[in-house]
Subunit: 165 residues, 2 copies
Amino acid sequence: MVSQPEASQHEAGQHEGVGAWAKRYYFTNREALESALRPFGLGSTQWYVLYQLANDGPTMQRDLAQLLHLERATLSGIVTTLVRKNLVDQVEGAGDRRQRMLELTAAGTELWAKLPDPIAEIRAIAFGPTSDADTRTAIRVLREATERLTEHMAAAGRGDDPRTS
Amino acid sequence: MVSQPEASQHEAGQHEGVGAWAKRYYFTNREALESALRPFGLGSTQWYVLYQLANDGPTMQRDLAQLLHLERATLSGIVTTLVRKNLVDQVEGAGDRRQRMLELTAAGTELWAKLPDPIAEIRAIAFGPTSDADTRTAIRVLREATERLTEHMAAAGRGDDPRTS
DNA sequence: CGATAATCGTCAGGTAACGAACAAACTGAG
DNA sequence: CTCAGTTTGTTCGTTACCTGACGATTATCG
């Protein structure tokens, strides 16, 4: 309740506010990304992995999961795909044989050089006409909301009722 | 948040701005929704369908797809699931036998009465402390960005290059 | 040292979303 | 009336997320 008088009654879409628009933007953005990447046979998440490897060099798979905010299991599948396409090498970790080190193959490096930067393009289209102040506000609102939810769920998970001190 | 030295410069997450946070908020929000709904054996989108049917009464499947911004194919699966759970009836349309009318079953109505409203709760937690003005700005930024991207993709799809007179 | 605990990657199973291709049903031109 | 085209829902294949469980490994502590 709190917020928005929200006036009207029907329209499940509108009624939802930030959540609904965050969702719609996420999917629209992903669609744009993927249609830009389709000619190269890449999915959006695959692109992010290549981006990371191209910019920060070889990376431990475990670290990559954190950088991209993905679960280990999710990343595992993506990496398998990229290895199958021969764009990424997955080699056994140096000291620790549980870990895997990821790096671009020659073919991966070559492909990366040819790739456009769809992120920059999409950002230009989507937020070009938006003022920096508004953009910053939007980021802050989303970030704070995410943080509050994360914290709340962590607390609930712990059975951590603040009143139960 | 506590930890995260973050702050610094490159970091693939940050670098993306609104897009990355829209994504993170979307997934965090969905996780919260789903953990609230898990005890009832419902997924988030299934909940939205019930919400719609409970509030606006029986609805044509085709209209529901529009209301919830889903593709026919996506909704088809969701509906199948709800029918299998005996929460929704899918009956042949009156005049047009291609169409399907959806409505809650008795069991569906009963379950709905017992359900909490996780949306309201989540909104309170996520946006309670955020000013209305900031919330409205965030919505506007996301909405405008979505519209620009949609328009751009539609134009590209049509092969509608302004320079190609 | 050896049992136990934690970490890492993978697999299996589930949800949600998409597009392409299809059959059935409707619509409209001729 | 008939046949081509459209609409509606379904099915299938793909991507991308998640959990939970498991095997292999490494770390820790009694």
